[in-house]
């Protein structure tokens, strides 16, 4: 980042009207927009690192036996891939980057409630990330436990688990503080007239997410602290030889980590709920239901953690309860999908890049979510648990869902902050490549899982060769799309055509202020008089 990326032609904006300059004007800034961009670039860097690891994983799996790395390297690599993707990219990604950039503007505020705490969160995140990175090169080498850190293996392996886990702990603390900050902001700093019924749906989803961050993350914190205690002090709480129970670890881990998947998807759903109406020029269908279902997902989603443990030896009663509740969470997601599709009806649809990503989100998330139902049903999960099917499922929801929504948000909102935009044609080509590559890569994995190939397998039996090769080739198409997309996007942001205040014709508050916005966002405090998707009142052509 730094001032090098700063668009030169803009007059007075948050890029240049602060007292300080240079790098310190960024890393010590308390302006939510600067912090948002800090998050955005750090998160994106980690994404690129982890994505490269993902591609290496695929190359290794291209053929049976050793292809480019040994088993220990492979195991470390998928662990680091998972940890970085989950804890350094997707969980901090939406709230940290777009939550910070957009949410305060959308509610008509000048900043978040605790701007200094906000900066502190970012620093904690960087600090935690640095620890995780350090853990890869020190001690016994990168952790090889999988991102789930299951005991007893994580207590025995000689790799550098303690340090990595500590890094994740710190990042979790950062996530908690962000959540506290956002809930307070949304309660306290809404502009005049910005009633709860007029909150943009992205804000609603950030609100629901923030609650999950507050209530679930501490459990992760204590769980990780326990791993460290087990390793360093030998407390034996999960060690069967000393009265412990390894399944209790799994409970604690998933009490956080299932709700965490909603930290990943809820803001993504918020983005989609904002993008689809704008590109259809039509109010969102069933605003209340969508807002409410975000809360419902957050609430019900906290009660289903046991569905990751169907084969673990958990009691059958628990399986009954958790399987049932898993199906209950699917309902609010279904509501959203139906409402989004209905929004298209009799609109005026323009297929620009943000919309293409949003529509493909609908498809990919549906596939991912529906395969989630297979996993939620007790009988079928037994067969596909811990296979490539699960890997397929979560890449569909995380990458196809949250990831594509992230790309949609990048195309939709970044021009606001740079005042310039990307070129449309390459963006569409990149989208098409990614969409095709994505499906080839991950659909093959799901088929592999159905055929019985377990996950976290460095090597496999010859019968799985063809599909693995297909999947690997798909990942290359995906790579080319991603590279094209990023190059085009950032070229555009720096050198592209200038955009006006409201390039897409949006009705939410961020489109009523200049691009790029001034530091204080609103020159005078806004008074909100209409809903977020009321396109008739906003004076759009």
């Amino acid at each position: 980042m730094g001032s090098a990326d700063q668009p030169e032609t803009v007059a007075s904006s948050f890029w240049n009207d602060t007292g300080r300059s240079g790098i310190t004007s960024w890393i010590f800034s308390t302006d939510h927009k600067r912090i948002g961009l800090l998050y955005f670039y750090t998160v994106l860097s980690f994404f690129l690192i982890a994505v490269s690891l993902g591609v290496l994983l695929r190359i290794e799996l291209m053929a049976p036996g050793r292809t480019i790395m040994g088993p220990q390297t492979y195991n470390a690599m998928f662990t680091v891939h998972g940890v970085v993707m989950i804890f350094l990219f997707i969980i901090p990604g939406f709230p940290g980057a777009f939550g910070n950039l957009i949410m305060p503007i959308q509610i008509g505020a000048q900043d978040v409630s605790f701007p200094r705490l906000n900066l502190f969160s970012w620093w904690l995140y960087i600090f935690g990330a640095a620890i995780i990175i350090t853990s890869l090169f020190t001690g016994g080498g990168p952790p090889d436990t999988g991102w789930t850190f299951y005991v007893p293996f994580s207590e025995r392996t000689t790799t550098n688990v303690s340090l990595a886990v500590f890094g994740v702990f710190v990042v979790g603390f950062s996530s908690i503080l962000t959540g506290v900050n956002f809930v307070t902001t949304i309660h306290r700093l809404r502009a005049q007239g910005m009633t709860w019924g007029r909150l943009p749906l992205f804000v609603w989803s950030i609100y629901a997410t923030a609650w999950v961050q507050i209530l679930a993350t501490p459990i992760l914190g204590i769980t990780l602290a326990l791993i460290i205690a087990e390793r360093l002090l030998g407390t034996g709480l999960f060690d069967p030889a000393r009265g412990g129970d390894p399944l209790m670890y799994q409970h604690l881990f998933w009490i956080y980590s299932h709700p965490a998947v909603y930290i990943m998807i809820l803001p993504a759903m918020g983005v989609i709920s904002d993008v689809i109406p704008v590109f259809s020029r039509k109010p969102i269908f069933g605003y209340k239901m969508i807002a409410f279902s975000s809360l419902a997902i957050a609430a019900a989603g906290s009660l289903v953690w046991g569905h990751h443990m169907f084969t673990s030896g958990m009691s059958d009663t628990a399986i009954l309860v958790f399987s049932f509740l898993t199906f209950v969470v699917a309902i609010p997601s279904a509501i959203k999908v139906f409402n989004w599709v209905s929004t298209l009806y009799r609109g005026s649809i323009s297929l620009e890049a943000p919309m293409l990503f949003a529509l493909s989100f609908l498809l990919l998330f549906s596939i991912g979510g529906l395969t989630g139902l297979i996993l939620g049903a007790a009988a079928t999960d037994i067969h596909v648990h811990d296979t490539q099917f699960v890997v397929g499922h979560f890449h569909y929801v995380i990458f196809g869902g949250a990831g594509f929504a992230f790309f949609s948000a990048m195309h939709y909102w970044l021009p606001k902050f740079y005042g310039r935009r990307y070129a449309e044609k390459p963006a569409v080509v990149a989208w098409a490549l990614m969409f095709i590559g994505f499906n080839i890569t991950y659909f093959s994995m799901m088929v592999l899982g159905m055929k019985g190939m377990p996950r976290r397998y460095y090597d496999y039996l010859p019968e799985f060769t063809a599909l693995n090769l297909t999947s690997t080739i798909g990942s290359w198409i995906l790579v080319s799309g991603l590279i094209l997309m990023l190059v085009n996007l950032f070229r555009g942001l720096l050198k592209g055509e200038p955009v006006g205040d409201n390039p897409w014709g949006g009705a939410t508050l961020e489109w009523s202020i200049p691009s790029p916005p001034p530091t204080e966002n609103f020159v005078e405090e806004p008074v909100v008089t209409h809903g977020p998707y009321d396109f008739s009142g906003s004076g759009i052509p």
Binding site: M248, I255, G306, G313, T317, A318
Partner: protein
């Protein structure tokens, strides 16, 4: 500052303190009784009353708006569910 602040008198705080001391004595006394598993629930009940007193008076919850009370209730309920649901496994294994 626009909001009204309730001031709690020293007298009231001290009586709450005395109440807490009394409950502490009570819970120690109860723990000497021979009532089996009743201890678990008995001492937890007393502890909850004590925590309630601290929250209501020392932490001014009594004088806060509805929002905070609801949020507190909500958070406690979620924690109870986290612990309670784990027992679907632990109890029936």
């Amino acid at each position: 500052m626009s909001e009204q602040h309730h001031i709690i008198s020293y007298g009231k705080l001290i009586s709450v303190w005395l109440g807490l001391l009394f409950l502490t004595a009570l819970t120690v006394w109860v723990s000497r009784l021979d009532i089996g598993v009743g201890h678990v629930w008995g001492s937890l009940a007393i502890a909850s009353v004590k925590a309630g007193l601290v929250i209501t008076f020392f932490m001014h919850m009594r004088y806060e708006g509805r929002l905070l009370r609801w949020l507190l209730f909500f958070a406690l309920a979620v924690l109870a569910i986290f612990i309670g649901f784990t027992f679907f496994d632990v109890l029936y294994r």
